[in-house]
């Protein structure tokens, strides 16, 4: 009996130790996730010449904003930044409205084509034509290359989001829609006045999904619209070229405070990351909900 108690105590002790092992593991993980970002931030705020000495630091040694000033003055980054913002705003707004509209129609079981349309949409989640036919469609058939619309139209609707929203709408009390219809509202009015206002949580989820997708999108610029560079694409270009045009007429004394490719790249990296960080608190709240909601789809 006594031995038994001893054993239980002993195992409790080891279990408590496990708690601290887990704690240390999580701390390590946090450091591993955050450290690279801090490193990038520090380089972007540090004097470029000083950075060349040793790039491994998380507190700027010689603070300067010159890297940021440079990217906006010399690299015409303002244009790319505006392009990224504009495509994100327009793409998200258009996408959310279309998704909500389609989701509502597909939630209406009495709609004659409900089954057919639902199947048509879901099939495309599993089979796709692949990159080359899509490329040819957009550039050769529709001539959308280097047209702003290539950022909006091909990715207008994500079927996954439609399903997410549809299951939310199906969960709304049907009495509200019926009441509105008895009052003489048509289907469009029901959608706009009744369903849409009740959908705010999923609209937030879908909007954030699409906004992050738009902001992070790189392949469409790379494939179709190199004349309309976004922030992501400019960052890619700088990463590939690894050199920065320095004006040959610049005096040697001015070159002292010149920029290094590394510092400029890090400044752009931060610029492209910050918007994500700003919406991040909202993101994770809505995304996690959306993720598990999607996991139990019918």
């Amino acid at each position: 009996m006594a031995k038994n108690i001893y054993q239980i105590r002993n195992s409790r002790k080891s279990e408590n130790i496990l708690d601290y092992v887990l704690l240390v593991f999580c701390l390590l993980l946090i450091v591993m996730t955050v450290y690279p970002f801090l490193n990038v931030l520090a380089i972007s705020l540090n004097d470029p010449i000083d950075t060349m000495r040793n790039i491994n630091f998380i507190i700027p040694r010689k603070f300067t904003l010159s890297n940021y000033i440079y990217i906006f003055e010399e690299n015409n980054l303002g244009g790319a930044f505006v392009m990224s913002v504009v495509r994100t705003v327009i793409g998200t707004a258009a996408g959310v409205i279309c998704t909500a509209m389609l989701a509502y129609v597909l939630s209406r079981k009495d709609f004659y084509f409900n089954k057919l349309f639902t199947v048509l949409f879901i099939v495309t989640m599993y089979v796709s034509g692949g990159m080359i036919p899509e490329y040819l469609l957009i550039t050769r058939t529709l001539h959308l290359n280097n047209n702003f619309m290539v950022y909006i139209i091909p990715g207008l609707i994500w079927v996954y989001n439609v399903i997410l929203m549809r299951s939310f709408i199906e969960g709304l009390p049907p009495a509200l829609q019926e009441a509105a219809k008895i009052d003489g509202a048509n289907d469009f009015i029901v959608w706009a006045k009744i369903v849409l206002p009740l959908c705010t949580p999923t609209i937030a989820t879908v909007a954030l999904f699409m906004a992050v997708g738009q902001w992070n999108s790189f392949m469409d610029t790379y494939l179709y619209a190199r004349d309309l560079p976004t922030l992501q694409y400019v960052l890619y270009e700088i990463m590939e070229s690894a050199t920065i045009k320095v004006d040959p007429h610049v005096q040697a004394s001015q070159l002292q405070s010149a920029v290094s490719p590394m510092s400029v790249r890090m400044a752009i990296t931060i610029l492209a990351t910050v918007p994500i960080l700003v919406v991040y608190p909202f993101l994770q709240k809505y995304f996690v909900g959306g993720m598990t909601l999607g996991a139990v789809k019918d």
Binding site: C26, L102, D110, E134, L142, V212, F218, T292
Partner: protein, 310 residues
């Protein structure tokens, strides 16, 4: 009201019904047209895999293009880049699935077991962050950290050559970066599976004297097995679809031999050298093998007595 709805559900086609549902039609037909143009027309583009399609013959109607049977496929398989590309794709894929699944389950277990609730939340929040950051940014950071003479080399005061070893080392590097980016996010689904396990089982096991490890081994892991199997089947179905974006962004001239994957290869041959037929054939090979793999994985899971996906 409900009865009426059930009646209309079975309604036969009539113009009267169409008129009644005209708003619903107006709200959906444009999107169906969009769907056909952007999703089904590219599927029809698969016919190009059996034709010789070059920039000058693309504009021709389909019946006037030269039909070449499986020549594009033969050409793709005999390409000097093809064997290495296929090996890379499979290698990166298997490594990615194994490392990704193990890391996500392990991390979910850690979060599930940790008792400091506040701290758990912080860890989880931080762990999702890289998921929302684009591959361009990740590549930029990874190159700063891992390139020769980068931050990691400086920190450890050695030369690891992580980004400049033209061998399977690059696969590991790519997969580890992917784990770093996605582990927290992928763990969510396992965490929610763990939350669905009956708490009574744990209580009963405790009474029977099972310690924490025993409870994890005998209750938690079997509890998430169905979820893991479904996710595994799906990822095996996508085994050849290693994205071009990540590979292209993380690679450089030195490691290109081991970074090339099928989708990128399709781009290089199809768009880079303007042989649309060949590029489509490579893409089609990738999709068809993917579907076959999915069916095999599904069958195997069924034979092993697991839940099937389809």
């Amino acid at each position: 009201m409900k009865k009426k709805e059930a009646k209309t559900k079975k309604a036969k086609f009539s113009w009267n019904l169409m008129w009644k549902q005209r708003y619903l039609l107006m709200m959906s037909v444009p999107f169906v047209i969009w769907l056909i143009v952007f999703k089904y027309v590219p599927l029809w583009g698969w016919t190009m895999a059996f034709q010789e399609v070059k920039p000058n013959s693309f504009a021709l109607p389909i019946w006037e293009r030269k039909f070449v049977g499986f020549k594009n496929f033969a050409q793709a398989f005999s390409d000097r880049l093809f064997p290495q590309t296929l090996v890379n794709t499979i290698g990166i894929s298997i490594l990615g699935i194994v490392l990704g699944t193990v890391a996500a389950i392990f991390f979910a277990l850690v979060l599930n077991e940790i008792r400091f609730t506040r701290f758990k939340k912080v860890t989880q929040t931080v762990s999702y962050l890289p998921h929302f950051v684009s591959w361009v940014i990740i590549a930029s950071i990874a190159k700063m950290l891992l390139n020769d003479g980068g931050a990691l080399d400086t920190m450890l005061n050695t030369k690891l050559h992580l980004m400049s070893t033209n061998s399977a080392v690059f696969w590991i590097v790519v997969c580890m970066i992917n784990v770093w980016k996605e582990m927290g996010w992928d763990a969510i689904i396992y965490l929610s599976a763990m939350a669905g396990i009956d708490q009574g089982l744990y209580e009963a096991a405790k009474v029977d004297g099972a310690n924490r490890f025993a409870r994890i081994w005998h209750i938690t892991l079997p509890g998430i097995k169905p979820t893991a199997v479904v996710l595994l089947i799906m990822s095996i179905g996508g085994a050849l679809n290693v994205g071009m974006e990540r590979q292209m962004l993380l690679s450089n001239g030195i490691v290109q031999d081991h970074a090339m994957v099928l989708s990128w290869f399709a781009y290089v041959r199809g768009i880079g050298s303007n042989n649309y037929g060949l590029g489509t054939a490579i893409g089609m090979f990738q999709s068809v093998v993917g579907i076959i793999l999915l069916l095999i994985a599904n069958k195997v899971a069924g034979l092993l007595g697991e839940n099937k996906l389809i």
